[in-house]
Symmetry: C2
Subunit: 215 residues, 2 copies
DNA sequence: GGGTTACTTTACCAAATGGTAAAAAAACTT
DNA sequence: AAGTTTTTTTACCATTTGGTAAAGTAACCC
């Protein structure tokens, strides 16, 4: 009965029949549980049993929907990549440069707050040297990064922004915003509150001062 | 022959006889190898076999020097905590506030460059919710953090620095500097060079603009 | 309602992994 | 050199973990 040599029985291309309601529901449950576990424990720290229990399914049942642990992880990373780059994609050449960048910062911070699991999943993957994501970074992130760097450099050249290195600017936006999700355990101890209280205001100030051109 | 209920046979307090040359050498080799492996794979991702091979010792031999995997990890974290907080400790009330903070930023960046393994070990631990470090954060980091926040706030109150939240200032210093070590895999892809080329200049500019008081 | 297909469970397994016991080999001590 | 202590190796072990086979159950289709 085993047909094809696809990684998963759901990756076949011949009959693109849409997944049943049960399939959709269970795959969603599994991916959600896996996000929980992978983001909290890292890839190797996560176990299929944990994922199964969190999802409320049995381990073999999970392996009915996914080819294996790694396939679940890769599926998550691929899904993540899209939403993760969204805020940057939205930053467009239209509109005021400073406003565009500041609202990008805000979107990124909101994202870290709303999707901390995703942020940690990503952080874990990069920390370990991006073993399952290297190609994706090269093919998706790099072009977008270069494009936006050029855009920002253009703004600078037109005197719309202070003269700073666009690449490091993006790095600092990413690091400062994601910090609140990735290092939450530390932030929580130090602020003794649930998170980034006045982070919004602080970061807006930071990047305003950094980016406002000296006239 | 087993005496005491200490976690390790090297934690006994009665005969504080100094460790032999062999002991010192092997413990150092083990800790160095463990730093390699833990920082690259995370706690659960690291295996004793990997550590043993990297250290050039057999697994049981490693367990002769340490009580177990966790003890090695904890030893590393404890050692790390000291050097890690050093740059912040050095920031003193004497000297120009802006200079003090900027050279703190520089020291932190140098540290991320010189000790990337340590940075990643720490990042891994915090990412997983600081399961073996929570108390340490509370007892060591928190007091230091509060002290330095007060110091910075004092500087601000005297008009020596712009009015910003000291807590978030420290967060942004940590995140921006450590980013180059923790997210090296990503930075490397995007810069297509071995690391933080002009990070020094960029971060100095960033924090100068942020901290210079409007007069 | 009978048959086919989709889904779930039960019972396993092989490899990996943290760890131990005890013998063997070095290293020190006198 | 003999005896004692320290260090290393060999041979295991119990558990965990990713994964599978096959039988059972529920859904769907006519």
């Amino acid at each position: 009965m085993t047909k094809k040599h696809a990684t998963s029985k759901f990756m076949e291309t011949d009959p693109p029949k849409k997944p049943s309601r049960i399939q959709q529901r269970n795959r969603r449950k599994i991916l959600d549980a896996a996000l929980d576990v992978f983001s909290a424990q890292g890839y190797r720290g996560a176990t299929l049993d944990q994922i199964a229990e969190t999802a409320g399914l049995s381990k073999p049942n999970i392996l009915y929907y996914f080819g294996g642990k790694e396939e679940i992880h890769i599926t998550l990373l691929n899904q993540l990549m899209e939403t993760w780059l969204d805020p940057l994609v939205e930053m467009s050449a239209d509109g005021d440069p400073l406003e565009e960048l500041l609202s990008y910062v805000q979107r990124k911070l909101d994202m870290a707050r709303d999707l901390p699991r995703e942020s940690r999943l990503f952080a874990n993957e990069i920390l370990q040297g991006a073993p399952r994501m290297g190609p994706h970074l090269e093919s998706h992130l790099k072009p977008l990064f270069d494009e936006k760097c050029t855009l920002i450099q253009g703004w600078i050249d037109h005197g719309k922004l202070a003269e700073i290195d666009p690449r490091h600017l993006l790095f600092s936006i990413w690091s400062t915003t994601q910090h609140y999700a990735d290092f939450e355990a530390q932030v929580h101890v130090l602020l003794a509150t649930t998170g980034a209280e006045h982070a919004d205001e602080y970061l807006q100030t930071l990047f305003t001062k950094l980016l406002t051109p000296a006239r």
